[in-house]
């Protein structure tokens, strides 16, 4: 375990979170087409950042920084990281951020078609998920984690967490589609709003079940209870933000321009959604890490799960 590498991975994850916020600000300000150019803005590398160009070009600058940081992360991984699958995940992050940049260019060049904008927003979440995973995999707590005997429940925790993760991801796609289906001065499509509300209920059930099962079955295991508590708390905040975002968005078509309350709340809703997603990823990865019968490293290598395996560079005995 290399502490510098882990800190750098955390930095990349934090920068990615900031990038998601910057992207959400572009959408809420309806600034995506403030310049018809890409990758330059109005033919310039550093245009005068007035009006909505501040948000669009600012987003591009943050994205460029994240891209550079990701390149640095790949170099760092190939220099310091011994686990091949972690290095490969770093390469995947690099490909994802390149693809994300190209998708961003497509949104501008094709003038924000819904499918491309939604794909751009969805890939942003996947990239964030990847950078957070790299921060998890390079952390001391991941390396030092010891296997925990699984407490039997009606459903395994791995299953519950994975289900929660999938429902959150689908809900993020729905949310991205909803957000990009209408600008601030248009009404949102009723069908998508209903689908997103349905998704919120499903996520609440899915993530609630996973988190509560974790807290009940492993109440003394901070390695699991901490992400479960954070995910559950963020979910509560996210539901409140969702209602608030809906209320402010209802009135926005009558406004002369996107107003700050609507912008702040909808951007917070996007950001909190991303945090719910990654906190659930952390929980899921950790359950796979320490619970019986599962091992992330083996799974990523495509090998069968074995109790006695390469455990972060150490060999650990099987659980009895």
């Amino acid at each position: 375990m290399n502490r510098g590498l882990n800190r750098y991975a955390i930095l990349v994850a934090c920068a990615t979170f900031f990038l998601i916020i910057a992207g959400a600000l572009v959408t809420s300000h309806d600034a995506g087409l403030a310049t018809p150019d890409w990758p330059l803005s109005n033919g310039q590398v550093f245009p005068k950042m007035v009006g909505n160009l501040f948000w669009e070009h600012g987003h591009r600058m943050v994205a460029t920084t994240v891209g550079m940081l990701t390149i640095g992360l790949v170099f760092y991984l190939y220099k310091k990281e011994e686990r091949d699958w972690v290095r490969k995940l770093g390469m995947f992050a690099l490909f994802a951020v390149i693809a994300q940049g190209l998708l961003g260019g497509l949104t501008v060049k094709l003038m924000l078609p819904l499918a491309v904008s939604t794909a751009h927003a969805t890939l942003a979440q996947l990239f964030f998920c990847t950078t957070v995973s790299l921060a998890v995999f390079t952390s001391r707590s991941w390396m030092a984690a010891k296997p925990i005997p699984e407490v039997k429940g009606s459903l395994s925790l791995n299953y519950l967490c994975t289900t929660a993760l999938v429902t959150i991801f689908l809900q993020l796609i729905l949310g991205a589609t909803l957000r990009h289906s209408a600008t601030w001065d248009q009404h949102l499509p009723t069908e998508l709003i209903l689908a997103h509300i349905g998704g919120a209920i499903t996520v609440t059930i899915g993530l609630g079940s996973a988190a509560i099962a974790t807290l009940r079955r492993y109440k003394d295991e901070q390695f699991l209870t901490r992400p479960a508590t954070i995910a559950l708390s963020l979910l509560a905040v996210q539901l409140c933000l969702g209602v608030a975002a809906y209320m402010t968005r209802l009135a926005s078509p009558g406004d002369p321009q996107p107003l700050n309350p609507m912008i702040a709340i909808t951007v917070a809703h996007v950001a909190c959604g991303a945090l719910v997603f990654v906190s659930t990823i952390v929980l899921t990865l950790r359950t796979y890490r320490v619970l019986n019968g599962a091992f992330v490293g083996a799974a990523l290598r495509g090998r069968p799960s074995v109790r006695s395996q390469d455990w972060g560079g150490h060999r650990v005995p099987p659980l009895q």
């Binding site: 007035v50 497509l106 060049k109 248009q186 009404h187 209802l250």
Partner: protein
Amino acid sequence: MNKQTKVWLVISIALSLLALGSACGGAKGPDTNKNGGEATSATAAPPSGPTGTISGVISFNGTPPAPKKIDTTADPVCGQKNPNLTTDDTMVKDGKLANVFVYIKEGTVDGGKKVAEYTWPTPTTEVQLDQNGCHYAPHVLGVMVNQKLKITNSDATQHNIHPTPKLNQEWNQTQANGAPPIEKSFARAEVLIPVKCNQHPWMKAYIGVMKHPLFAVSSDTGAYEIKNVPPGKYTVVAWREGQTPEEKPMEVTVTANGAAKADFAFGTATSSIAPSLKMMPAIEFPMIGKH
């Protein structure tokens, strides 16, 4: 780097280049003149002989919504030039409504031919759309298919002009301060094309594109006049912007050298519903009671 990683690297670069290529190829030139105009069976020249006019006044019933102040702090140039910038979607003076687009939608010219069967020549004159004080002037305008639209920037800041048509080709172009006028045209008739500036999101205009010159926009006094109308019976429509644009039709008969009247009225009864109430269907369940 092992072999598997190299393969993925090559695939990713290839996909990236493909995406970039489609991005460059997807944004075709905005010149719509080459499209040759909307396919039409109209071949006859417009009828010669005496014509008439259609005129009227657009009224606004009820209390008009107060103009809303626009926050221009995002671009100080806008605030310096136009410190009292307000919304102009409902411009009412003494109960009369400006910026209503009135046009002949359909009808029969005396002699039996439909108005759509005639081909009017494209005017050689340009129609101007100016960006002045971070505000479009005029707010509503009409052009004929393939008529030149001259877009100017009178501000000391840059704008981007972004029409969002449904039938014509969408385009988005930046116009810096001091840049020469942009000349565009639209190849298909469309009522009406919203135009916005993505740099200053409050800036909005509407362009009516017609195959004939039989249209007008109400002035500050609510008055309008459509000139040179061939004698006949027509459906005249008054169009007003809004979340859901309103259209009010009226049957009008025009005689040679005659002056037909067509007054329209819009009002708060149909347009001032609070946005929250307008969105109430969002919480209805569409399937219930529909089977």
